[in-house]
Symmetry: C2
Subunit: 419 residues, 2 copies
Amino acid sequence: MSEEGTRVSRRKLFGLAGAGVALAGAGAAAGVGIDRMGGGSTAQAAVTTVDFHGEHQAGIVTPTQQNLHFAAFDVTTTDVGELRQLLRTWTSAARRMTAGQEVVPNGAVGGAAEAPPGDTGEALDLPASDLTLTIGFGPSLFDDRFGLASKRPAQLIDLPLFPKDKLDPARTGGDLCIQACANDPQVAVHAVRNLARLGFGVTEVRWSQLGFGRSSSTSREQATPRNLFGFKDGTNNIKSEDTDFLRDEVWAVAGDGQAWMAGGSYLVARRIQMHIETWDREPLEGQEQIIGRTKGSGAPLGQTAEFDDVDLGVRGAGGVPLIADDAHIRLASHQTLKGTRILRRGYNFVDGSDGVGHLEAGLFFLAFNRDTRKQYVPMQQALSSKDAMMEYVQHTGSAHFAVPPGLTPTSSWGDGLFA
Amino acid sequence: MSEEGTRVSRRKLFGLAGAGVALAGAGAAAGVGIDRMGGGSTAQAAVTTVDFHGEHQAGIVTPTQQNLHFAAFDVTTTDVGELRQLLRTWTSAARRMTAGQEVVPNGAVGGAAEAPPGDTGEALDLPASDLTLTIGFGPSLFDDRFGLASKRPAQLIDLPLFPKDKLDPARTGGDLCIQACANDPQVAVHAVRNLARLGFGVTEVRWSQLGFGRSSSTSREQATPRNLFGFKDGTNNIKSEDTDFLRDEVWAVAGDGQAWMAGGSYLVARRIQMHIETWDREPLEGQEQIIGRTKGSGAPLGQTAEFDDVDLGVRGAGGVPLIADDAHIRLASHQTLKGTRILRRGYNFVDGSDGVGHLEAGLFFLAFNRDTRKQYVPMQQALSSKDAMMEYVQHTGSAHFAVPPGLTPTSSWGDGLFA
């Protein structure tokens, strides 16, 4: 962690800088990956890195960066030794790349001329850009291939098929995942691409998803961003400052069943296609009733400001409830869900066009919770069966991962799994 | 244009800011779209806009922004009046959005509650982020539907099929195109999405492509960015400062045939998939021979610095030519091409995965030239038949557009076309 004085002055810089640069909050450390920074870089200051090490993996409560590249992998080897070695190799590469360094020293241009480069080079000259790399293990990794069945957490269920799911197998599942977040898309892409490269012969990319615009903030230092429905998203998200909620609702403990997961969490990834053309023809009033908030300020209906407490019982003229029975904010609220909360970290996406005249757009939903059985699943059961918003969305991809705890400077992503 | 004093101080701000914020160069004007900026924005300074008006459309010599959303449209109406009206509506919306404003005043939240909003809202609170919107007209627009056959420029050919092209019809062609570039992907996406929305019933999205990392710089103020082969790309690109080249190689004049195109240009869009996994197994020396430059500095082989003049005849030990007959830099050079140059403005992309274990990655090539028949076509004929790089790329999409000249504050994108 950096000194307070340094943080304040950097924050002031960011305040001046504005567009495109996220505020650097807790967990960000000043630093320049000097072995990757050439003299011709356009980015010479205000370069921040997020510490790869800590009690928890970075990329969960880290203030949400602007850009995402998420990839799910199939393990193609059946040799557990190769898998273990790859996790060590990946950890070493991730440790370096999150520090703004190449995969290996002088990887792109300094190796032997007759050898393939140790780094693909497209992030040369680019700073770390707050890159975080977060690993997860899917349910399928715990089948009979690698002797891991006894290590599978009870929380790491095969997600049920929810009402109206229309999942594409090519966007669903995965033995492993890497979540790369950064304030430069090229840095996030470079990281995933190099991990995929290092995995050649051991893993294959099953699917990958780019995202932008961080549809949920995870820090009170961040303004609440907007999703592609045009609404502020994540006002009542668990934030990095909510230490009690993090303890109770996000971080696994040894007593939850699998001691190796203590300090970890469970990641649900859902690719949610939005029918934005249909949404755009819905009157403002209808949109606001579906969400349960005003579009401009983000205030809950019946309130005046974004962060005002939600009052699900508030009534308007003639005693009519302002927040409808099928409003998203009601069904997703911790009041309705008996106190359940999750930490969301999703991104907006546009993946070309849908082939019938529209953009293929939506929200790549990422959420971390301590027990998916008790948190995400009942929440999504309620939303998928009752939410008025379901008319405008379709879940087209789905995955679930156990996200192990954080690392020390000498440990590896696979240590707990294979301990 | 802004005053020099303002530009210098803004540049200083950007210099401090660094990552994710492009330098604002020629054509950028200081300004804040104050009717879209709420109090809760994280971006409160260093906000720049690019003037929508001028002799030429913005987005051609404008210093390349970080993010791209490009969309091609089919016109679905056969009513020429509807098409003309849409071009007026689009111009008005583009004029406002490039100034950091909503599509219409108070569009997202200020309209009638029972009416669909006039702006989709996801760019509320976001600054203009140097947004440029550039329109083009495809060859198919000049068929018999709208009486435009006599207006078709001879330069606007149907592109030939080049050797090894593997074009996907769903990524090829289009009656119209919109190129949206900005330093915030959400701003570019918002712009395209709102133009698509305004076109409902008149146009449909045929295909769309997101990009990042500006694979070619168009100003000497910008460092040369890297493509996903890890090489600096665009060192010898035509830059906004090369006024003679712009006059001779980019801007159409009345004497070229169609007076309405004077001040315009011709845009070639090519989606080039890169087989990055194969490339990554190629030794450094082989990569450098294929390109004809060193990977680190970008210097031409046989030279020492990126911007050193290319010497195609330079020889190494034993008199062996250093720049091979099939090197990309040789085949694409203006020396080989009898002086022909183009202005490139492409972007890197990753579109998920290819379904067989790899990322779907590449370069979305955008180039402007004065006569595609004499510039892009012979260049691509040479490259597609001889370039050593062809083993690592595949052209999967293709389109060609006539880009009309710039606008006055009261003119419309369709004025010349329908004059």
